[in-house]
Symmetry: C2
Subunit: 142 residues, 2 copies
DNA sequence: TATTTGTTGCAAATAATTCGCATAATGTGT
DNA sequence: ACACATTATGCGAATTATTTGCAACAAATA
């Protein structure tokens, strides 16, 4: 979806106050290249072979990149996390309840809904991001 | 939130085509009694002591109750699943990015948003349920 | 009640994720 | 370019969450 040059990624990391390391760039780049949210398994598989990055390093970087707000962590009840680039505070996914098909939908704003929800809240005054998983059966599983 | 008598729960299970067992009733009842989505740890802690239910039994029942559509499984990036009664296909939660505070918001319909999303989809024609996690800092963590 | 089929407990296995520690690399100030 | 303080990395081991195999048991149905 979002394509970033190495220079862009360096800037992103610096702005986030994170050190720039080859591994971190490789991980970010790998996440940014795929269309659908990627699993840790896929990252480990790709990056351990290609760049010789240890599993622990990948987990640690996913955590710091997530905390820094550069990536988003998603869960589709598949037993493992998925990650995607954080672009725009919003993430809407259609998820098949039967197989592991997911489809990311972009371009839908729900700011007014968020406002309504905040109005009802007693514990929160503002929000940063949100993600919505919409479950159903995909065409193959209907 | 939703209160069910034992008889109600029996009906729910039968309608779902599940066998009625004391353990299953206890698990469902336990989930229905709490306001916020409950963790497996909490269920195990409560039910193992009170009713002498094994951990594996709890996991197996959570799975079958979920598949049967009686309960919903949620993830807030806390490293473990949460469960709540399935009531009405919708679940909206405010989640603190810092601590483990969550707040369930009810009474917001987003049917029109779902319609828009479905219109954009290539892989899905209909949906069953959805859940939205809205992240931010709770009052204590601001 | 007999039969069939789903359920449970227990212990052990997997899967996902995290941690400890020694070593190496990054960013900063000189 | 250099030295220092801080953070990142690899490796193996530890945790945590969740699942499974199997024998004993209980629920639904005729």
């Amino acid at each position: 979806m979002a394509f970033y040059s190495k220079e862009d990624l360096v800037v992103l990391l610096k702005e986030a106050g994170l050190r720039v390391t080859d591994h971190r760039l490789a991980i970010l780049s790998s996440i940014s290249r795929v269309r659908q949210p990627v699993t840790v398994y896929e990252l480990v598989d790709t990056l351990r072979k290609k760049e010789n990055i240890d599993q622990a390093t990948i987990y640690r970087n996913l955590s710091s990149l997530h905390i820094a707000g550069l990536i988003r962590r998603l869960d589709f009840n598949h037993g493992h996390a998925h990650y995607e680039l954080e672009t725009g505070r919003v993430s809407h996914q259609l998820v098949c309840s039967n197989c592991e098909t997911i489809e990311k939908i972009e371009g839908i704003s729900i700011d007014d809904v968020i406002k309504k929800i905040l109005k009802k809240s007693k514990k929160f005054k503002q929000t940063t991001t949100h993600s919505m998983e919409i479950y159903g059966l995909c065409k193959n599983c209907v």
